[in-house]
């Protein structure tokens, strides 16, 4: 029973973190209908930002969170205006974005490799707390709880943004129907640009915690993060950022249950779940709810 409880609580924590990893990708797809294949690389940039803060400036890596916000503005605004409007004027923005962001992913990989080398990099174990916290008798490291708390705060903030702000309403309107939003006078370009920046910032914030949740960061794990993010958002609902939370939870709990009872098959989980969900509910677990909202 203890193993079951441990896997369940661990899966929830792990899943909430992976919801944060994937949510930026879903936001960008939902608003712009473009596929950011460089998503995992933006997550890595957040991780390396935290690493630089810790290793070079001797600061707490948690400061990587505001740095990710700042970095997203610096990186994502020019990137958006250089790339996205042109993509959206093309005949097949989804396919073109696929190719274009694949190229960007390769470039980021190459830059990270040149700057940091292929070595694994980690953050100080005790920077987010040296102990552990137990819930229902199941104890997890402080870093897991901090990662979960930040993930919940960020996702909660995004929910408030969607439901309490004019920009959020406009964003949802664009996600529901871009042409109609345009006809109602919403400045689609500006709202999309803001969403793009938020999406990249969310990826960067998630990256700060990757060294704690996945042991270390290295330039080669970006594509794997992108793939896992895709699985998480498709399970939840492609195009519905908040559906990502459900996708993350299903992914996290499923993975850690498999690790507990059938460890050899644990990496099969995201893809098996993805196939099952696509076959049973092609719109994802929360697909219908999005459209109604």
């Amino acid at each position: 029973m203890s193993l079951l409880e441990y896997a369940l609580i661990g899966g929830i924590l792990y899943g909430i973190f992976f919801a944060l990893v994937g949510i930026g990708l879903n936001l960008i797809f939902g608003v712009m209908r473009i596929i950011n294949l460089a998503h995992g690389q933006f997550v890595l940039l957040g991780g390396y930002g935290a690493y630089l803060l810790s290793a070079r400036l001797n600061l707490n890596p948690i400061l990587g969170v505001p740095l990710a916000l700042l970095g997203a503005v610096v990186v994502a605004v020019p990137l958006y205006y250089a790339v996205v409007p042109r993509l959206q004027r093309s005949r097949d923005p989804e396919m073109l974005s696929f190719i274009l962001f694949f190229g960007i992913a390769q470039m980021i990989d190459a830059i990270l490799l040149a700057v940091f080398g292929a070595d694994q990099r980690s953050l100080p174990q005790d920077a987010l707390g040296a102990g552990s916290i137990a819930v229902l008798g199941q104890s997890f490291p402080d870093s897991w709880w901090v990662a979960t708390a930040v993930s919940l705060l960020v996702i909660g903030g995004l929910f408030l943004y969607f439901t309490r702000t004019r920009l959020g309403f406009a964003t949802r309107a664009i996600m529901a129907n871009r042409e109609e939003a345009l006809s109602t006078g919403i400045d689609v370009q500006v709202v999309s640009a803001i969403s793009f920046v938020i999406g990249i910032a969310l990826a960067g914030i998630a990256g700060v915690f990757v060294p704690y949740m996945l042991g270390s960061i290295s330039p080669d794990i970006g594509n794997e993060l992108t793939t896992t993010s895709f699985a998480v958002i498709i399970i939840g609902s492609l195009g519905n950022p908040l559906g990502t939370v459900v996708g993350g939870l299903v992914f996290g709990v499923g993975t850690l249950f498999m690790q507990t009872f059938f460890p050899s098959w644990s990496n099969l989980v995201p893809y098996a779940l993805l196939v099952i969900i696509v076959l049973i509910r092609p719109a994802g677990l929360l697909g219908r709810a999005v459209r109604v909202a």
Partner: protein, 418 residues
């Protein structure tokens, strides 16, 4: 006007021609033209899971090539002269599919004389059938998967690391000698780690120990928190983890932050890439971990070929401005073995190369220890002892604790609570 030639004149011409042909055929070695350079083909990974280890191995080979070329090249017995070496290397990015294409290119397009595999069993596994198909001898530096060496072959030689079928034997014997009964084994599902785990399990079984936990995880595994908890539920005294460096880092970090404690914890790569693992895991978290200490941590002072371990460390450090690790030493050792092979092979053929290696087997000691291969190409020498990482000042030191004839200290068992 019709000219009639005498029959004897025609016969003589035929005989002279045949004689010339026969004479040519009987002196192939003398007639063969020595190449201007010996082409050594290999792969390395600039990125991906195996990048750190692969680049270390490649740097060691480059160091050897630079050293021999400075001296005029390698002596090639088949041509009775020294010939410079040229290393042709491509980046496989740790991908087996890319590696397959590039190994093929080295064999069929570059037509290399010597083929050396990339680091580790995963990237070596795709080279073995290609080498066999093209009748090329594959110099296998660090691909130790036991299933590579199941049949007699002239086209495979594991030169710088013991086969996984024998590698964990000292570790298993240490566990049995310590009378540890409850053993948990977690391994990555790849040739290298799975065959080590399998060997360990079978040697333990001979000593009457059945693991209380024995499971594989994906090679990409990076989260061991729940796995450690599951292992702890089986109440093991010893937890032995077989993975690559990224797995070891994740495993040791998760163990340190889990609050769990085991009397004995073993992982492979602290003994091979100690600087990398210490940087990521921290000296404190590594304390009392067991590992395989590899040269230069283990030093061979009496060698029959090349530099001693100490000489290598000194010379490599001077040339590269950084101290070598095991993979650098392994890459250098590949070069040494190839060098001696070329110096012994009477003909410049792959079969003669292989025979030369067989002739060297059991009679050669390098900075990695005794070179000893069997007819299947498996390395049975170069056995690695067991060491424990023990705190010393702010850092740690490696203490060899088994076998007794190599031991530099006693094991601290059970490991003290942090």
């Amino acid at each position: 006007m019709r000219v009639v030639r005498p029959v004897w004149l025609l016969s003589a011409a035929v005989l002279i021609f045949a004689g010339l042909m026969l004479a040519g055929a009987l002196r192939p070695a003398l007639a063969a033209t020595a190449p201007s350079e010996i082409k050594i083909g290999t792969l390395y990974a600039s990125s991906g899971t195996f990048a750190v280890a692969s680049q270390g191995q490649y740097q060691g080979l480059q160091y050897w090539a630079a050293a021999v070329n400075k001296d005029g090249g390698v002596f090639v017995k088949a041509f009775n002269k020294k010939i410079p070496v040229k290393v042709i290397a491509y980046d496989d990015q740790s991908s087996t599919s890319t590696a397959t294409t590039l190994y093929n290119q080295l064999i069929t397009q570059d037509k290399v004389d010597i083929l050396i595999a990339d680091f580790g069993s995963v990237l070596t596994s795709v080279a073995i059938p290609l080498a066999e198909e093209h009748h090329m001898l594959l110099i296998d530096p660090t691909g130790s998967g036991a299933n590579f060496f199941t049949k007699k072959t002239d086209y495979l030689a594991d030169v710088s690391i013991p086969s996984s079928a024998v590698w964990p034997v000292p570790l298993a014997k240490f566990v049995l000698a310590q009378k540890i009964k409850r053993v948990a084994i977690i391994y990555d599902s790849n040739d290298f780690d799975a065959s080590q785990a399998e060997t360990l399990k079978s040697v333990l079984a001979e000593g009457g120990v059945t693991p209380v936990y024995y499971n594989g995880v994906p090679t990409t595994e990076s989260n061991y928190a729940v796995l450690l908890h599951t292992i702890a539920a089986t109440h093991p005294d010893a937890v032995l983890e077989f993975g690559y460096a990224p797995n070891d880092i994740a495993f040791l970090r998760d163990l340190a932050s889990s609050g769990l404690h085991f009397n004995m914890t073993f992982t492979i790569f602290p003994g091979q890439l100690s600087a990398l693992i210490t940087k990521n895991v921290g000296a404190k978290a590594l304390a009392y971990t067991y590992t395989y200490p590899t040269p230069p941590l283990v030093r061979y002072t009496s060698v029959t070929l090349g530099a001693t371990t100490d000489q290598f460390v000194k010379e490599y450090t001077a040339a590269s401005k950084s101290a070598p690790n095991f993979l650098n030493a392994a890459g250098y050792n590949n070069g040494l073995i190839v060098q001696e092979m070329l110096a012994l092979a009477p003909q410049f053929t792959q079969l003669d190369f292989h025979q030369a290696l067989m002739d060297m087997s059991g009679k050669t000691t390098t900075l990695l220890g005794e070179f000893k291969i069997n007819e299947n190409g498996a390395q049975l020498g170069e056995l690695l002892p067991v060491a424990q990482i023990v705190p010393e000042g702010e850092g740690n030191k490696f203490v060899v604790i088994y076998p007794d004839d190599k031991a530099t200290g006693k094991a601290v068992y059970p490991a003290p609570q942090p």
